[in-house]
Symmetry: C2
Subunit: 83 residues, 2 copies
DNA sequence: AAAATCTTTATCCTATAGGATAAATTAGGC
DNA sequence: GCCTAATTTATCCTATAGGATAAAGATTTT
């Protein structure tokens, strides 16, 4: 596979997009007084470490569309609020 | 891995969520007079077949968060419009 | 009616996203 | 200051998401 990416968006741009989402997720999670573990378990993830990596955009991890859908439901919010 | 899913959302619910998004993507793509191939290439996907499967929720395929981000940019829209 | 264009269907392959573990660090409560 | 809770860091494993191919079908254009 080539490192060349022919899409209309750069990898850096995509990374910033994911990072922006993570910041919002953290903001609303803390606002609802939920721990990372509580929210992770609610959306069906048994690993707080994986959750933490996503929320901090570490080790190449980030939330995917399905995660966001479940997080929105867990926090009683609209998925658009993270975008 | 178990078939049991302990998340707050069922697989059926997630499937409907993805399907709903796909319908919106098709609606706006056609509204902008773009072909599936044109849009696929714009977002960096060389396979109109893969794009078609996503847009029709066939063979277990669906758009992911990154796809939607790029599609929104390609159609000069806001990603929220698909959610 | 034929050709071109667009879309769909089925199937295959593999890089990596998804998610786990363990240990270390940080933060909060008492 | 100590203990517990919460979070972070690094690394590993593997099922599957991502995306390709090829052929067939449907639609549009000429």
């Amino acid at each position: 596979m080539s490192d060349i990416d022919f899409s209309n968006v750069s990898k850096e741009d995509v990374y910033e997009f994911y990072k922006d989402i993570s910041l919002k997720v953290r903001y609303y999670r803390e606002n609802k007084n939920m721990t990372q573990l509580e929210l992770a378990l609610e959306i069906g993830i048994n690993s707080v470490a994986f959750y933490s990596n996503c929320e901090n955009s570490k080790n190449g991890k980030h939330f995917n569309l399905e995660h966001l859908y479940k997080i929105a439901k867990a926090l009683d919010m609209n998925i658009k609020d993270f975008l």
